[in-house]
Symmetry: C2
Subunit: 164 residues, 2 copies
C-alpha cells in the first residue's frame, strides 16, 4: 500500500480522491447540468463556488482521471471539460446520495426532482443514464431512438422551476 | 430555503451534513465494524483518526441525528454509540461508494472484500443488511433464523486477513 493514502479501504480512497465536497459538486454540474465550460461551472453554480476553488478542483479532477480538458471544436478560445468513464461510473454514488438527501434533508423541490426520479428508476435507469453520458462525453453513440434520460430529468427540473 | 445552507440540492445538503470525509469514515466503522465505543473507534481506526477530530465528528453526528449516545448497560462508565434510522439508510451510499472505489482505486484485498460482496448483492442485500443494523442499533428484532449479512461480511474480511 503506497503510504500517501490513509488506508486501502475503498470508501476511504473514494473520499480521498473526491477530496472535498466541491469536487463532487463540480462532477454533479458537469453530469446533470451538462456544464462543460469554466464560465458555466462558475456562473451557474447553485452554491456560488469561488473562481480559485473551481480552478483548483478542476485541475485535481483532471489529474485524478475524472475529467478531461480539450479544445472546444466550436470555440477555439475555449476548453471543454468531459467526464471520463470512471467519473460516469459515479452515477450510482450520486443517485444514492441524492435519494438519501431528498428523504432526510431540507431540500428544495426544483433541486430534488431529478434525484427523486433517479431514485425511483433504480439501477436500470442509472445504467441508461450512464450510456447517455458515454454518448455525450465519450462519443460512444447509442442505438437511434434510445429515449433520453437527460431530457427527462431536465424537463422535470424546468417544470418545477416554472412552478416555483 | 434557510440561508445556512449553500443550496437546497440533495447532493449538496448530503455533503454538508456529512461534513468532511472523517464523518463518513466514523459511520463506516460503526456500521461495518460494529465499533460502538470511543476507544474502539479511536484505537482500531485504519486511517489513524486523531482523538480531537473523533470527538468533534461524533458530536456533530449526534447533533445531526446520525448517531445516538447512551450509557452502556454493561459498562456503567462507558457510552455506547448507535446508528439512527437515517444513518442506516446511508447503506446504499456507502455500498455504491465502496463498489466504485474497489473498481477504480488502489484498494487492499482485505479492506475491499466487504465492498465487493455488497456490490454483487445489490439492493436486495443492502436491504437485508439495513434490517440487521436496525436490530443491532435500534432493537428492532428480525424473524428468528434470518441469515446474518454482518457475519458474512465479517467472515470474508477475516479470511482475507489470514491470507495477507
Amino acid at each position: 500500500m503506497a503510504s500517501q493514502h490513509r488506508s486501502g479501504c475503498p470508501i476511504n480512497l473514494t473520499l480521498e480522491i473526491l477530496g472535498d465536497s466541491w469536487s463532487l459538486l463540480v462532477i454533479r454540474d458537469v453530469m446533470f447540468g451538462n456544464r462543460r465550460h469554466f464560465n458555466e461551472l462558475l456562473g451557474k453554480s447553485e452554491e456560488g463556488i469561488a473562481s480559485n476553488i473551481l480552478t483548483a478542483r478542476l485541475r485535481r479532477l483532471v489529474a485524478n482521471g475524472l475529467l478531461t480538458r480539450a479544445p472546444d471544436k466550436h470555440h477555439k478560445q475555449r476548453r471543454i471539460f468531459s467526464l471520463t468513464e470512471r467519473a460516469i461510473q459515479l452515477v450510482p454514488v450520486l443517485a444514492t446520495m441524492g435519494a438519501w438527501g431528498s428523504e432526510h434533508l431540507p431540500v428544495t423541490p426544483e433541486l430534488s426532482i431529478r434525484a427523486k426520479i433517479l431514485a425511483e428508476g433504480g439501477p436500470e435507469l442509472w445504467e441508461a443514464f450512464m450510456d447517455e453520458l458515454r454518448e455525450q462525453h465519450l462519443g460512444i453513440v447509442r442505438p437511434p431512438g434510445t429515449p433520453s434520460v437527460f431530457d427527462r430529468l431536465e424537463l422535470a427540473y424546468r417544470s418545477m422551476i416554472s412552478e416555483c
